[in-house]
Amino acid sequence: MLPLRLATRHSLFRSRRWVQSIPSFPHLNTVTEQDLAHFSKILPPTSILSTLPPRATPTDDLATYNVDWMGKYHGQANTVLRPRTTQQVSEIIKYCASQRIGIVPQGGNTGLVGGSISLQKEVVLNLGAMNNVRSFDPVSGILVADAGCILESLSNYIAPYNHVMPIDLGAKGSCQIGGNISTNAGGLRLLRYGSLHGTVLGLEVVLPDGTILDQLSTLRKDNTGYDLKQLFIGGEGTLGVVTGVSILTPPAPQASNNIFLALPHFKNILPLFQVVKRQLGEIMSAFEYIDRTAYDMALEHGLGPILDVDEVGDAQCFVLVETSGGNQDHDLEKLNNLLEHLMSADEPLIYTGTLSQSPSQFASIWALREGLTECVQKEGKPYKYDVSVPLANFQSVVDAVRERMISKGLYGDDGISKVMGYGHIGDGNLHLNVIAKHGYRPELEAALEPFIYELVASHKGSVSAEHGIGAMKAHALHYSKSDVSIEWMRKIKQVFDPLNIMNPGKVLP
């Protein structure tokens, strides 16, 4: 049974409407007509959306900013501001601080944990209109850009100079670099280029009192005191608003290849990972995992088929390995040696696989992995858990969740229709997706949480590997962070934002 404390708190979450389970903010004021009049002095009319008179924008027009892309979180904001300059952001925040108006900084609104959603009519500060590249140095590869630049447009901007963004994720066409940094997004290239804590060289941040903190450094080495920018990377907008970014972009790989492998059992994954790492060395740039349930789902939704059905047989899991290097012949030789080794072993680790023969095949193989998120969305309403656990436990965590749903009688078309795992083996990051075919239900959530969080904690894992905490996981923070850690996080929050106006209700429980 659940401990009493958890059970009581859980009953709060049992409400069907998610918004009812969120905290209220008695210390904050909502936006009024007078406030709107003041915002109109800072911003041109085209940069303000509000349901209040005199603007009276229809509520539907605010939906893009109020509803997250999964349709899980429905925000309450009556006003959305779209500043174009850092100065405007500063003036808005200064005013909000003086009037005790809560602020939700928002990028592309592609987050998965409700971090960019207004819980109690806080004003939404959307940075999408700040979308200029400030500078790019093709020699050092250092890019300085506004926070609202869309990740893919930055990739396209630097592509002619033969550079790539150090971060890439499925939402690249909508997500913004400022949001990527505020959520410390991981994604598909983390294995190769490391986390944003390393690649971000500097930030320009507007603090919760309106002060502009300009740390837009383009230095690779700068050991002068505390590295404040690190606090805003993954700060989820609770400490300030990122308005400008300086980021180190690596040179574009001259040769890219990928292979897709079918493995008979999960237990072959770790030996395979070792062999692949050893043989490919520095050219390995991704090692992705897809379990059988996820693979079958992808095929049902028209992705693939990449492998022959008979050769795949009863394979339990699949792996996508990508290489990026400087010389196609060199990379192919390594890959061919690896494949020969894998195929000619006495007890092969794999059933079969394929090596992409053209850029289009390369893209199709990636599409199978990257398309999973959208397939999940089409299957029903997903409960998405993004956890870090030791590699060896990837499958057992997924199985444990499925078994729990079966034992509770909640597994089937009218309850949880699918439990699957995929993710980044190279980073120890598992995306556990639990699909409710006919929508979210309180008893499903009660069966999943805190069970999953406790399960992850028992493996000494993290309840949020790369999606962040947002509104969804604030109550689960303690599964991954000690009381001491949380206490010091609170102190930091208090120092930066004593009025608690920046993204209230997010991250800290």
Binding site: E311, L339, T352
Partner: protein, 268 residues
């Protein structure tokens, strides 16, 4: 070549190494052609042709004796042949051209293919090839080859059924407003359309096996063909760049812009 009931089928699949369709094409600075220093892969229509040849064998089993792929191109075209072998072809012929030779014109290709067919001791019963290559979009080689050989031709096939005993192929073509069915006596030249099939991915075991399959290397001189261009390319240019739109603040500005652009009111 004397037809007889026991004769097994030999299939020839010509393939071309072309700039991959996912690559963004750029005109080279001299305006003599496009930048070729980009990723290449097998022409997608040819991939469909290889796939169809393999599927014909899967359907007819032993009645298909051989599937041979052939390409004409620089040394790197060997990669394209390897892909075809990994998909299921048995052997390959590479008519090798020196690096950076311009790719031959359709008539030159058709003559080369004719010479190759005539060299095959056991003959060729079916030639399956792409209806066009995505680089020059000429779409002529199959027809020219059929003409030179005096064979039946079935172009833009969306379905191919081969009757090995009767030595007949039934081909369905997609035409305006419906489907057209042809019955051809072998030998035949079939060109493939996009909907004929979806090519498979070469599986690892087959990629490994492909390395051991034989490739015969020839030169145009060996075949007695001349691949000199008959057409001269004068200039290659990009289409004019689209000029972006602009926002106006109000109706008056809009009207002013329209007048500027030469639009005027006309009373009926």
């Amino acid at each position: 070549m004397r037809p007889s009931a026991v004769r097994l089928l030999h299939i020839l699949v010509p393939v071309k190494r072309a700039v991959d369709y996912a690559v963004k094409i750029r005109v080279n600075p001299d305006q003599t052609g496009i930048d070729l220093n980009v990723k290449h892969s097998m022409n997608p229509f040819d991939e469909i042709a290889v796939e169809e040849a393999v599927r014909i064998r899967e359907r007819l089993k032993d009645a298909v004796k051989s599937i041979k792929v052939v390409t004409i191109g620089p040394p790197k075209s060997a990669e394209t042949l390897r892909t075809a072998l990994a998909m299921g072809a048995d052997s390959a012929i590479h008519v090798e051209l020196p690096e950076s030779t311009p790719s031959p014109e359709p008539l030159g290709v058709a003559k080369t293919l004719k010479a190759i067919i005539e060299r095959q001791k056991e003959g060729v019963d079916i030639v399956i090839m792409g209806k066009q290559a995505i680089d020059d979009d000429a779409g002529q080689t199959g027809q020219m080859l059929a003409g030179l050989m005096g064979w039946a031709q079935a172009t833009f096939a969306s379905k191919v059924v081969v009757d090995a005993e009767k030595k007949v192929a039934h081909i369905t073509r997609e035409i305006d407003g419906g489907l057209e069915e042809l019955r051809c006596k072998l030998p035949v030249v079939v060109t493939t359309d996009l909907r004929l099939n979806e090519p498979r991915y070469a599986s690892l075991p087959n990629i490994m096996k492909a390395k051991k399959k034989p490739t015969e290397k020839l030169t145009p001189a060996d075949l007695g063909v001349d691949l000199t261009h008959r057409l001269e390319t004068i200039k290659v240019t990009e289409p004019p760049k689209r000029v972006g739109g602009a926002k106006v603040e109000n109706v008056d500005q809009l009207l002013a812009k329209l007048k500027e652009a030469g639009f005027t009111t006309r009373r009926a």
